[in-house]
């Protein structure tokens, strides 16, 4: 049982960063001569005014939740899968290939949808496999590998869009032709424009991963590898296979998220179709200190703010990136306060049976885990660098 004092500190540290980041955002709004309440009103209306808007929120929520679930898995294994954005993109490419070249008619549309989703999962896994292979076999840190592969998949997509897959008329680097209707994921209705099957898929993925992480040997192995690779190896865990499986699971989920972007949001393949959602997923997961349980909820809040922010521009002539500023600050303050709490109020941290408060920091050399043939070097499990992911470029 926690003492009342510990509980008070815990709740205080939960609310304080939210209050502070709201205050800073409000100060920013006041500084440009606007009323913060107006902004809140605009955000709220932009996200929840009617069921159409709500559908838009879900269209962000689906890919964001998928990548966040995947990232919980890689973080649990101590891996910083920055390559998640590229894995989304590779999933989108695979789905786009299928959408254009698999000739299934209107009547077989649901089957085609399933095939394309499966293809996108394979695409995401493929790109994640490359990161994993570089990391495990060659000792290339997954952050460096991920960044490089993100760039590479963007080059490939631009080549495809402006080359083999360019529209017959008016070809440019804007995007491919819209995919045939059977390939596209259907809207539930024009009043609620989102895809219910994908929502169900997200919920299923959430429940399955939750069970896998907390009730199975695989989940325990991930945790062991994430916390101490060398000990896990000596205790008999197949560390390489475990790390790779984390990459593959995350890649599959990211790939499916990518498919949603091209098969629903855009109806065609565009450059940067992943839209920074993978990076936003990193923020969601960091914000939650890798607690999977809260991922759908926080992802929903992020999606609502993002969707709502489009209205800032229309209604208030404020730049919609204000929403990104708010989210970025929120993550920074949460991580900052987590650190403050740890230093000044140890012992009041939340019960943490299903999360790791600190993913291990990546080692810049990436040498720490070549096992089997290469000497194990000693490196500490230092806590995570206390800053959020890189620049956010979340766009619709």
């Amino acid at each position: 049982m926690k003492s009342p004092r510990a509980l008070a500190v815990q709740i205080g540290f939960l609310l304080l960063p939210i209050v502070i980041s709201l205050a800073v955002a409000a100060a920013l709004v006041i500084a440009v001569g606007r009323d913060p309440l107006e902004v809140v009103d605009a955000l709220w209306k932009g996200a929840f005014k009617d069921s159409r808007k709500l559908g838009g929120v879900f269209n962000f929520w689906i890919p964001l939740t998928l990548v966040s679930i995947g990232l919980v898995v890689t973080f649990r294994a101590g891996l910083w899968n920055i390559g998640v954005e590229g894995q989304m993109m590779m999933g989108a490419l695979f789905a786009s290939w299928g959408a254009q070249y698999l000739p299934l008619g209107e009547s077989l549309s649901p089957l085609l949808n399933l095939i394309l989703i499966a293809l996108s999962a394979v695409g995401g896994m493929f790109w994640a496999f490359v990161v994993g292979l570089l990391k495990i076999r060659l000792g290339v840190n997954e952050i460096f590998g991920g960044v490089a592969l993100n760039a590479l998949v963007n080059v490939i997509s631009i080549y495809l869009i402006s080359g083999p897959w360019q529209p017959r008329i008016g070809g440019s680097a804007q995007g491919t032709e819209p995919f045939p209707t059977p390939a596209l994921l259907p809207e539930f209705s024009s009043r609620f424009p989102t895809n219910l099957f994908m929502i169900a898929l997200v919920i299923a993925a959430f429940i399955i991963v939750l069970i896998l992480l907390n009730a199975t040997r695989w989940g325990l192995n991930l945790k062991a590898v994430g916390r101490n690779m060398r000990s896990a190896l000596l205790l008999g865990v197949a560390t390489e296979r475990t790390s790779m499986s984390a990459f593959l699971v995350c890649g599959a989920l990211a790939g499916i998220a990518g498919s949603y972007r091209v098969l629903f949001t855009f109806d065609n393949l565009r450059p940067l179709a992943s839209g920074g959602i993978g990076f936003l997923g990193l923020l969601v997961v960091l914000l939650l200190s890798i607690r999977l349980l809260w991922v759908p909820l926080i992802a929903f809040a992020f999606s609502a703010i993002l969707t709502g922010s489009t209205r800032l521009q229309i209604a208030l002539k404020l730049d919609s990136s204000l929403a990104g500023v708010l989210q970025g600050m929120l993550v920074l303050f949460v991580i900052l306060f987590h650190g403050v709490q740890e230093v000044f109020f140890p012992g009041t941290l939340a019960d943490e049976e299903i999360e790791d408060p600190h993913p291990p920091a990546p080692s810049p050399t990436g040498r720490e885990r070549e096992v089997g043939t290469v000497e194990l070097t000693k490196s500490d499990n230092s806590p995570l660098p206390r800053s959020g992911g890189g620049g956010l470029g979340v766009g619709a």
């Binding site: 040997r217 695989w218 325990l220 945790k223 062991a224 790791d356 194990l376």
Partner: protein, 500 residues
């Protein structure tokens, strides 16, 4: 300076680590602090040296109550502690390490400091090159540096925690001479925390003994000049053991059993790392056999052991485990065939901080995807019982004391391994715990396991090994007749003196 500790209490959760300790340390005396693991001696020394505050109680220096927190404040009050692993900065040179604890003003005054360093080293017969990087130093030299650094800071009470671990016989003599001069000639208080009773008897003027957080006795040591016969030593040792454990320990007997077929064979095995190019090693370990590797830290024995477990690259030569060449195997493949490597750093390699005892059990229980938590909980409880671990299923491993962590590690070993490769299996454990660990290990030998282990405790090597290999600067020599070898001879061999 004279120190008095009054009514010191310290609790860690339910454990009363220091329970009303009252003791005086007088200037010019070398005092041994004895006790089994978890008796509270490290806690007491950490309180005295400022690393942690006491819950209750007072520290008096020359009859004044002094209140300080933090090691820096303790040093300012004249009390300095030499940690078991010296707290120096690897990339720095000797001189830089010497300077960085005691900078006053902005400029470093290197020349002045270098002169001071040389002067102090000469006084104590230490050989320290001011411009060597710390990484190139032996443990003994790092200790020497830390001692003179503390002296330069004006320390009048010097606390040493297990200073004779990992140093050779000659280096120990130099260290003890220096400590005697500091205490007897210069009037310092020297406090020695050690499990090695011979060292304590040799060096100390008196000892205080702790048991379960309570001070259970004080005793003067025989004067360490000429009348220190082996009979006197043995008798004193027995008295100390009785005080520490409250009972007389029987000498440990090796069970009798047959040595079996070869388990591990190396032929002309060559390994290297950045610091060491090793001579080829040819060795055969047979089922039931215990092979001890002696040597100062970093002499190549660690590299060799890791190479055997396939945790270290092998340059050339042959290696076979259980009848199959294992040059191309991974550690995990060997592990599944019954070869287990136990590393010296428990929380760095071996156990996983943040995981509970139950989770550790689950990791080694079986391979099924579904974990049967109920049966794992049961297994864990029976392990705790069987291995006398002070802890609960739901405790995370870092909540346990070092000795208990070691017990967990031994408890996690498979029951019937073919080969155990163990780095310092009893490092930092008291006599009783170390014996207990060996009982467990020898049981496995009796069932057919071969053991290869290294240790900086020469007595442990001589007691348990069927054969001993001495490593010195990458060379290796088999000790010809282990039964006839004394600890003293072995101490000279690890210093590179093989003709003795």
């Amino acid at each position: 300076m004279d120190i008095e500790l009054r009514n010191i209490h310290k609790r860690f959760g339910a454990i009363h680590a220091n329970n009303d300790i009252n003791v005086k340390f007088s200037h010019g005396r070398i005092v041994g602090i004895l006790g089994e693991n978890g008796a509270g001696k490290s806690t007491l020394m950490k309180i005295l040296s400022g690393f942690q505050p006491a819950d209750e109680g007072e520290i008096l220096i020359d009859n004044d109550i002094i209140d300080y927190t933090g090691p820096t404040a303790a040093i300012a009050n004249g009390i300095g502690m030499l940690q078991q692993d010296p707290l120096d900065v690897g990339a720095f040179t000797v001189l830089e390490n010497f300077i960085y604890g005691g900078v006053e003003g902005i400029t470093l005054k290197r020349a002045e400091a270098a002169a001071r360093l040389k002067d102090l080293s000469r006084r104590f017969g230490f050989e320290l090159d001011p411009f060597q990087p710390i990484d190139n130093l032996l443990i003994a030299q790092r200790q020497q540096l830390e001692i003179i650094r503390l002296l330069a800071l004006g320390v009048e009470t010097l606390i040493l925690d297990e200073p004779t671990t990992g140093i050779s016989a000659d280096q120990k003599d130099i260290l003890f001479d220096a400590l005697r001069r500091l205490a007897h000639d210069e009037g310092l208080v020297v406090l020695l925390v050690s499990h090695k009773l011979e060292d304590v008897i040799d060096l100390c003027d008196e000892v205080v003994v702790l048991r379960n957080g309570v001070m259970v006795g004080e005793m003067d040591m025989p004067v360490s000049d000429d009348n220190l016969t082996s009979a006197v030593i043995a008798e004193t040792k027995q008295q100390l053991v009785t005080m520490m454990f409250g009972e007389v320990l029987e000498a440990q007997q090796r069970p009798q059993y047959e040595i079996g077929a070869p388990v591990l064979i190396t032929e002309e095995l060559v390994v290297h790392d950045q610091r060491l190019d090793m001579q080829p090693i040819t060795l055969t370990a047979q089922s039931g056999e215990v092979i001890g590797l002696a040597g100062l830290g970093g002499s190549g024995q660690e590299l060799f052991m890791r190479a055997c477990a396939r945790l270290q690259r092998i340059d050339s030569g042959a290696l076979s485990f259980d009848g199959q060449s294992s040059l191309k195997s991974s550690y995990r493949q060997l592990f599944r065939r019954g070869c287990v490597f136990g590393a010296a750093g428990r929380l760095e390699e071996g156990l996983i901080a943040g995981l509970t005892l139950t989770e550790h059990s689950a990791l080694v229980s079986d391979d099924k995807l579904q974990i049967d938590w109920k049966s794992v909980e049961k297994q864990t409880a029976s392990r705790i019982d069987r291995y006398r671990i002070k802890g609960r299923n739901s405790d995370t491993i870092e909540q346990l004391s070092g000795g208990n962590q070691q017990r967990v590690l031994i408890g996690l070993l498979p029951d019937d391994p073919k080969l155990l490769i163990l780095e310092q299996p009893t490092r930092g454990l008291d006599v009783d715990s170390a014996r207990w660990i060996w009982t467990q290990l020898l049981e496995r030998c009796q069932r057919g396991a071969a053991i290869i282990f290294n240790s900086s405790d020469l007595e442990e090597l001589v007691t348990y090994s069927d054969r001993i290999f001495v490593f010195y600067a990458g060379q290796n020599h088999e000790v010809p007749d282990v039964n006839q070898t004394t600890i003293d001879e072995l101490g000279h061999m690890i210093g590179g003196d093989f003709n003795n």
